[in-house]
């Protein structure tokens, strides 16, 4: 779940927008370059965006007795890199802000930062880093998708905590409360996203080897 319309002070909206904008621009340029140099991966790019679309629409029940939805950004981050995923996330966030009153236009920058930047960078780092220290690729994909998802909601919690510090506990006190709402709820959902992403990765490994090697996404994986 994203920060709702009007729930961040205007100065915070502007600040998060300013932080996120360069990533969106860099991502858009990267999308253009990838599509121009490798038009054969266009459909896979669309499918990665579709994955974000599906997972963001699935509001799932959690052990906390409340609902939230996964992000779906780990797959695109592993395939195309983090900034391309920023663009895909921005599209989904805009769709939900305009048509579903979910998230918001004023909070778009903040939500792009959590879902489109931190999550994908965490996922990409784990996807590249874990095989380098000896972990198998499926395990790395699982960790990337799970922790990319979870980190998004940790960031959301801190964004709200900075905006609404607790009168007694300050920013950290508020962060604990918001983490209780967002991050704890998200744990089983993040694991679900990890499992689903491994399923898709297995299918890609079977049917899309050419595209994967085009993207260099199979790096470090024995052919």
């Amino acid at each position: 779940m994203h920060i709702m319309e009007g729930y961040l002070p205007a100065s915070h909206c502007v600040a998060w927008g300013a932080v996120s904008a360069p990533f969106v621009v860099a991502g858009a340029m990267r999308v253009k370059k990838v599509v121009r140099e490798h038009p054969e991966v266009k459909l896979l790019l669309a499918a990665s965006g579709a994955y974000v679309f599906v997972l963001s629409a699935l509001k799932l029940p959690s052990v906390t007795g409340s609902c939230s939805h996964p992000t779906g950004t780990g797959l695109a981050a592993a395939l195309f890199g983090p900034t391309v995923t920023t663009v895909l996330s921005a599209i989904v966030l805009l769709f939900q802000a305009l048509l579903l009153a979910h998230g918001g236009i004023t909070t778009l920058g903040a939500n792009i930062f959590s879902m489109g930047i931190v999550g994908p960078f965490v996922a990409y780092g784990l996807y590249r880093g874990l095989p380098a220290v000896g972990l198998g690729v499926p395990a790395a994909i699982f960790a990337a998708a799970t922790l990319g998802d979870l980190s998004t909601y940790v960031v959301t919690s801190f964004q709200l905590a900075i905006a609404f510090p607790d009168p007694a506990g300050g920013i950290l006190g508020a962060a604990v409360k918001f983490l209780g709402v967002f991050a704890f709820t998200q744990v089983p959902l993040a694991i679900s996203e990890g499992l689903l992403t491994v399923i898709v990765w297995n299918l890609l490994g079977k049917y899309s080897r050419e595209e994967l090697s085009t993207l260099g996404a199979l790096q470090g994986r024995p052919a």
Binding site: E5, A57, P61, L100
Partner: protein
Amino acid sequence: MMKRNLLLLLGVIVLAVGPLIFHSKTAKFSGSDDQASELISTIQPGYHRWALPLWQPPSAEIESLIFAVQAALGAGLLGYYFGRRRGYAEGKGASEGRATH
């Protein structure tokens, strides 16, 4: 691979259905964003929500319609992608098979 994927899918189903059974009597399963806005109003009771969504789905039914459309668009495209790739892989295998005979 199919077997492993089915096991993974089973894991997802357990994670989704488990909370429904576990909390069947007590929980409301409201959205975490609604809970966050409640939390904001307890931390800073005077906070004035200064912007409202430009448009809101007029009812919960319409909202679930749009969520379903979102999921259907995504799932449709994913299905199209894997269908194409699978057809391509099998077509290639078949034509290679013919070439050797």
